[in-house]
């Protein structure tokens, strides 16, 4: 932007081109350095706990050929999507209600505080006792983790809406429904999106933890098999897969957010 606040398009374009070039270069250099460092270390160490690349490659091929990797990915992603969508919808609704009504806020504050400071996977064994090590108890865990986080963020978002927005809308004759949709939801949206983003990480953490603790499939279970057979190569493959998938969800989320919140830029 120049002095008068106008955007100089050609300069902006040149700037963007330079940025993306630098980003690509830094991406390559960074991963290259990381991989090179790893290869050197694993070559010198010659330990089965730091596998050299042929072993990694061998196990990767084997897992892909036998379909374990793909099926684990599909199962974990399915669990995540179900729990995340249900949890975020319920969390946003409860958060809005809490932000709007003093009475409900008073009732719900204590349970929310209790659940917020307890990591959701601490409930794994409780839910396993209550509902069995079933799909439902895992769904409930993820649901709970995501709900709690979105509640907190949405609640703060709704509570911090400047009173003048609501008063202005009232003066202009907005109905209750319109007020909710056009004023409250819009104004709280940036906060809600922050919460949803934290919820992504929380959801994945919970899935992985619950699959490590009580499951027979999914990416967390892949980690467990690696550990049980003391096979670090499998562990690395599982970790890298988790990293890639979580990164992809985050990138998708960020582009959705950029689209929905385009009025903010």
């Amino acid at each position: 932007m120049d002095e008068e606040g106008r955007i100089d398009v050609s300069r902006l374009k040149a700037y963007l081109r330079r940025i993306s070039w630098i980003n690509a270069a830094s991406f390559l250099a960074s991963f290259g350095l990381f991989i090179a460092l790893y290869l050197i270390i694993s070559y010198i160490a010659k330990s089965e706990f730091i596998p050299y690349y042929p072993e990694l490659y061998h196990w990767f091929l084997r897992y892909v050929r036998e379909g374990w990797l793909q099926s684990s990915i599909i199962i974990s992603v399915q669990r995540w999507i179900k729990g995340y969508i249900a949890g975020s919808i319920v969390g946003i609704m409860i958060g809005i209600v809490m932000g709007l009504s003093r009475k409900i806020e008073e009732i719900l504050t204590i349970p929310v505080v209790i659940f917020r400071f307890t990591p959701a996977f601490a409930f794994t064994s409780l839910f396993c006792l209550l509902f069995g090590a079933t799909e439902f108890s895992r769904f409930l865990l993820i649901f709970m983790a995501v709900t709690m986080i979105t509640i907190v963020f949405t609640y703060h978002g709704v509570r911090d809406i400047p009173a003048k927005y609501i008063e202005a809308a009232q003066v202009l004759g907005a109905s209750n429904l319109k007020m909710l949709r056009k004023v409250i939801l819009q104004a709280a949206l940036p906060h809600i999106f922050d919460g949803l983003r934290v919820g992504i990480a929380a959801g994945w953490t919970t899935i992985i933890a619950s699959e490590i603790l009580a499951a027979t499939d999914g990416l967390g279970y892949l980690l467990i098999t690696g550990r049980q057979f003391a096979n670090v190569a499998v562990l690395f493959i599982a970790l890298a897969t988790i990293g890639v998938i979580v990164s992809i969800t985050d990138i998708i989320f960020l582009s959705v957010r950029r689209y929905v919140l385009r009025w903010m830029a």
């Binding site: 064994s125 409780l126 550990r227 890639v244």
Partner: protein, 189 residues
């Protein structure tokens, strides 16, 4: 846990400062760091158990790792967001480079670094619980697992409430400390 937290926080803050202050390290570390950060620290518990065993040492190491990973973000952003005006003003007043870092940049970034430390406390707490749930013979996580084995629902719920209580207390203490050290900011406002 607190030992691991302290060591991890120091490492994380130092790396965060380096990344925020020196561009070349930012470019070299950021992509790999973002990738590693996407993996939940809990997933690394299994790896650390294989590498370092199930004893106290591997527990502390996993906390050091998790806290360092999480602490890098707020430190990095805090340093990046220090207004250029401060730096320019300090330079104009004849600050040397070392003073620039210690007196200007760090001072300006301090509140957000402390906020980061506060939220990281919860991360460390969650990770230690997870590590204890997965493999240990002591601690609240083990208490819950033990209640699971003995089918003792009351003990389990008690354990979970205990986790909440400790997490809550840690947060309250942290916010008190933060208020004490960044009180000057609020007073100015």
């Amino acid at each position: 846990m607190l030992a691991g937290y302290a060591v991890g926080a120091v490492i994380g803050i130092i790396i965060g400062i380096i990344m925020g202050y020196l561009r070349i390290f930012d470019l070299l570390i950021s992509p790999v760091y973002n990738f590693l950060r996407a993996i939940p620290p809990i997933a690394f518990v299994t790896l650390f158990i294989l590498w370092f065993g199930i004893g106290e040492f591997s527990k502390i190491l996993i906390i050091v790792f998790a806290v360092a990973m999480v602490m890098i973000i707020p430190t990095y952003h805090a340093i990046k967001d220090v207004p250029v005006v401060y730096v320019r003003a300090a330079l104009m007043l004849g600050a040397r480079r070392i003073h620039l870092l210690s007196k200007v940049v760090l001072r300006a970034a301090l509140p957000r670094i402390l906020e980061g430390l506060r939220s990281t406390l919860q991360v460390a707490w969650a990770v230690i619980i997870a590590a204890e749930l997965i493999a240990s013979i002591r601690g609240i996580g083990y208490y819950i697992i033990y209640a699971d084995w003995t089918y003792n629902l009351a003990a389990m719920i008690f354990g979970i409430l205990n986790i909440a209580l400790v997490g809550f207390c840690l947060d309250v203490i942290a916010s008190k400390i933060i208020f004490k050290y960044t009180g000057w900011m609020r007073r100015v406002e």
